[in-house]
């Protein structure tokens, strides 16, 4: 992909981000409830004090003024102050972001590692016992409400067997030195095996809970596209060439069959990011999703706006990366 085309693609994202901003702003301003009232919920305050608070929160300005102010500041990377934390929104989000990214990436990895082999096996044994087991088994993933399944996992593995921790991202004693803020990465960079193990132990159950529904979807996509690919002449030809089964399935078939899987995985990142908030609550995971839901309920407008913008940006970038990967896998669309 040429640099100018890359730039063009990136420029195309701007209207999407603007649209997202407008919608969030509109939604939040139409939502009944007031952050100042929420902050002082069930506590005493005089009308004058509430007015001061609303002024300090910037709520006494008209909507268009607020929107214009948000926009002009946002393009400069300033998303304002988080109303309840009294710190810059960017800082509050940045603290929570690594955990969410780590969890989402782990869930994505888990679902890909589970879905692709299962999808291939199911397609190869189409209609057979393995196909049915894989299909029905994977459907369990998509059929369970995540929060309920998460609590069940937690009761079994953390409370009954005590194999894994109940909540959090890492134990204090096992913390790696902060280099990037990503625990797994930092553990690796610092060569701290104990930290890595501890971080992975904390990560395992949330990642499974979050990744399972996606794994089910991806498995179905892989299975279907694998079935399609396996009927292609080039697979017959590869067989006629006397290649090993592993090479035929693993290279000839999979390289073609993965295209739809990647597209769907990128689209499903949206639900993965959304699913975070449920899983994070259950596992006490210090991520962004929980913060965003709390912020919606507290009417913490600046934080919600910035976070949704970030989600949209992530989504758009993930899909952009998927497109790039697509061109690698599929030489025909290389430009």
């Amino acid at each position: 992909m040429s640099p100018s085309l890359l730039l063009h693609r990136l420029l195309q994202l701007l209207p999407v981000l603007l649209g997202v901003t407008v919608i969030v702003f509109g939604m939040m301003s139409l939502t009944p409830g007031d952050p100042a009232e929420t902050m002082l919920a069930n506590q005493n305050a005089t009308p004058a004090q509430i007015a001061t608070l609303r002024h300090d929160m910037g709520l006494d300005r008209s909507l268009p003024v607020r929107f214009a102010s948000f926009l002009t500041h946002a393009v400069q990377g300033d998303f304002g102050q988080s109303l309840f934390h009294h710190r810059p929104v960017a800082a509050v989000i940045a603290e929570r972001l690594p955990a969410t990214v780590e969890l989402s990436a782990a869930a994505l990895l888990f679902s890909l590692l589970l879905a692709i082999p299962l999808g291939v096996i199911a397609a190869v044994h189409r209609g057979g016992l393995l196909d049915r087991l894989a299909t029905v088994g994977s459907l369990f993933g998509v059929s369970l409400p995540g929060f309920w399944f998460g609590i069940l996992l937690l009761l079994v593995f953390a409370v009954d067997f005590r194999l894994l921790p109940v909540s959090g991202a890492i134990d204090y004693a096992s913390q790696p030195p902060t280099i990037t803020g990503f625990l797994i990465l930092d553990s690796l960079l610092a060569l701290r095996l104990d930290s890595l193990g501890n971080a992975l132990a904390h990560l395992l159950l949330p990642a499974i809970t979050l990744g399972l529904p996606m794994a089910a979807i991806l498995m179905r996509v892989t299975r279907a596209s694998m079935l399609e690919v396996l009927r292609q002449d080039y697979i017959t030809f590869a067989e006629a060439k006397g290649l090993s089964r592993a090479r035929i399935l693993g290279l000839h078939a999979l390289k073609n069959a993965l295209l739809p899987t990647i597209t769907v995985a990128a689209i499903e990142t949206g639900s993965l990011l959304g699913g975070n908030m449920v899983v994070e609550t259950v596992f006490g995971w210090p991520g962004l999703g929980r913060l965003v839901v709390e912020s919606i309920f507290a009417r913490n407008y600046p934080l919600v706006q910035a976070a949704v913008l970030l989600y949209a940006l992530t989504y758009v970038l993930v899909n952009f990366c998927a497109d790039l990967l697509y061109t690698v896998l599929n030489p025909r669309v290389r430009m």
Binding site: A41, N44, H85, E95, V166, A173, A201, R290
Partner: protein
């Protein structure tokens, strides 16, 4: 293979913990602090956590009696001037000595407009008519009021003292993420949304001498893990991951008690639960209907079943432990015949149809109340919305459209000014019943000014009686605060204030 590696690594991690954790206490707590700045929040949870690191001028002893903490005592120079004498030798975690300058600085941050980097402290309202705090000498400061406000010492329990030099040094917003209190523990790390790690502060001044066993903390390190989901928090306790959890749900009491390594601890709370009845709209504009509602509800049944008996019935607004509590208020006994008679008398022989508003956390209770009221002829529908939405609907300056709202009001100071005035005075911010009784208003105003304790108590008792007769609310109960603790914990007991006082906690 991967799973095996993880298990080995997890085991290794646990081993590390055990070696280092001889005197480490872990707490499962519901919410992350919003900020570490004691002057810039209105969150009870944040305050509970900050109180492990910061001290106030005044504290509560286990019996909720006011005791001086950073000061040796307070004296009223006149009804509008209170003088406090600083306890000598109190050290901040930075090693600096706490002086009157710090007190003046801390309170003026709260009082003065735009004192927090251009913003006004949201805690300003908690200091009522206090207009200024001035230094007399290094050990003495005075609170100047615009009108008599005897509840000031009780209200001072909500404010913590920060270091002037540290605050100025750490710059705008600096206190939001850094801590320099004078409490028994100092902050080592705050991993946002995940945990707070505290360590014992050796030069701690020992705390209020009026609270037994003043001295240094027993444990070396505290790890406060944030676990918002109730079931997960209980699970963490049962799994031995934490030693104390707050907000133990009443229905988990049995499970926690059945586990040999855990037990339940309770303390009488300070939060009054009630159903606000819209006094300005049919049918609850009629006192007979409001009384009928009070007779129609079997409160004891709900307390026994939903709250596992861990609450006391209330016939008014005040908690039994609060100042001026009127223990002789008549009770609206559970009596459906009486309720029906009152309804008929008010012109509703066929009962009434009403809606009970509630937010998510109150759903179960609201449904139970609605079911019981319905059985008694007050056919009640429940409407659940998110908290901000219900509050907007019931704002005192709102449209007053609702029928009933299940609500609660905290009273950490255990003084009527903090609960009676806002919820039942005409136009009060929390007066969601839109109740207005001139006599009550006058009594509250007088009580707010009265400096003689006995007279003041009498005024409030009289007001409680009037409210009881007017029944602006469906009176409910005052629940206990429940905690789950592990058997290896000793020396700790929960406080009615909601603070997690960890100074005396020890672990085996």
């Amino acid at each position: 293979m991967r799973a095996k590696t993880i298990l080995i690594a997890a085991a290794a991690a646990m081993a590390v913990q055990l070696a280092a954790g001889a005197a480490e206490l872990r707490i499962g707590f519901t919410l992350d602090p919003l900020t570490l700045d004691p002057g810039n929040h209105r969150s009870r949870e944040t305050e509970s956590l900050l109180r492990t690191m910061y001290n106030g001028l005044v504290a509560h002893d286990p019996a909720m009696k006011l005791v001086p903490e950073l000061i040796t005592g307070w004296t009223w120079v006149d009804p509008q001037t209170m003088e406090v004498k600083l306890r000598p030798g109190v050290k901040f975690h930075s090693g600096d000595t706490l002086t009157a300058d710090d007190i003046v600085f801390s309170f003026n941050r709260l009082l003065k407009p735009a004192a927090l980097d251009g913003q006004t402290s949201p805690r300003q309202g908690l200091l009522g008519p206090t207009k200024d705090v001035v230094k007399i000498d290094d050990q003495t400061a005075r609170f100047l009021l615009t009108e008599p406000w005897p509840v000031l010492p009780a209200m001072l329990t909500f404010q913590e003292v920060v270091s002037k030099s540290f605050t100025e040094k750490s710059g705008p917003g600096g206190l939001a993420t850094a801590e320099n209190g004078s409490g028994p523990f100092k902050l080592v790390q705050w991993r946002r949304g995940d945990s707070l790690v505290l360590e014992r502060f050796a030069p701690y001044f020992g705390g209020a001498p009026d609270i037994a066993k003043a001295g240094n903390a027993c444990i070396d390190r505290v790890i406060i893990k944030i676990i918002p989901e109730n079931a997960s928090r209980t699970a963490a306790l049962l799994a031995g991951d934490v030693d104390i959890i707050n907000e133990l749900p009443a229905h988990d009491i049995r499970t926690v008690e059945a586990n040999k390594n855990t037990k339940v601890m309770a303390v009488n709370g300070t939060r009054t639960f009630f159903v606000a009845l819209n006094n300005t709209k049919k049918p609850f504009d009629d006192v007979r209907v409001r009384r009928a509602a009070n007779h129609a509800l079997n409160r004891q049944l709900i307390i026994d079943k939903l709250l596992s008996g861990r609450a006391v019935k209330l016939n008014g607004v005040m908690a039994p432990a609060a100042f001026g509590f009127n223990a002789e208020l008549p009770e609206y006994t559970y009596d459906t015949a009486r309720a029906k008679a009152l309804l008929t008398e008010a012109g509703y022989p066929n009962g009434i149809d009403v809606t009970l508003d509630a937010d998510g956390p109150q759903k179960e209770t609201a449904e139970a109340i609605a079911a019981l009221l319905t059985q008694a002829g007050i056919r009640t529908k429940v409407a659940i919305s998110d908290g901000a939405q219900v509050r907007a609907r019931w704002a005192s300056n709102g449209k007053r459209e609702g029928d009933m709202w299940i609500n609660s009001w905290g009273n950490g100071s255990l003084d009527p000014t903090d609960i009676f005035e806002p919820t039942l005075q005409t136009g009060g911010r929390g007066n969601s019943a839109f109740y207005s009784n001139k006599q009550v208003d006058d009594l509250l105003a007088a009580g707010g000014r009265e400096t003689d304790s006995a007279k003041r108590a009498a005024l409030y008792k009289q007001a409680q009686l009037l409210v009881n007769q007017d029944a602006p609310w469906l009176f409910l109960w005052l629940p206990q605060d429940l905690y789950g603790v592990s058997a290896r914990l000793s020396g700790w007991s929960p406080a009615a204030s909601g603070w997690i006082n960890l100074r005396d906690a020890c672990v085996q």
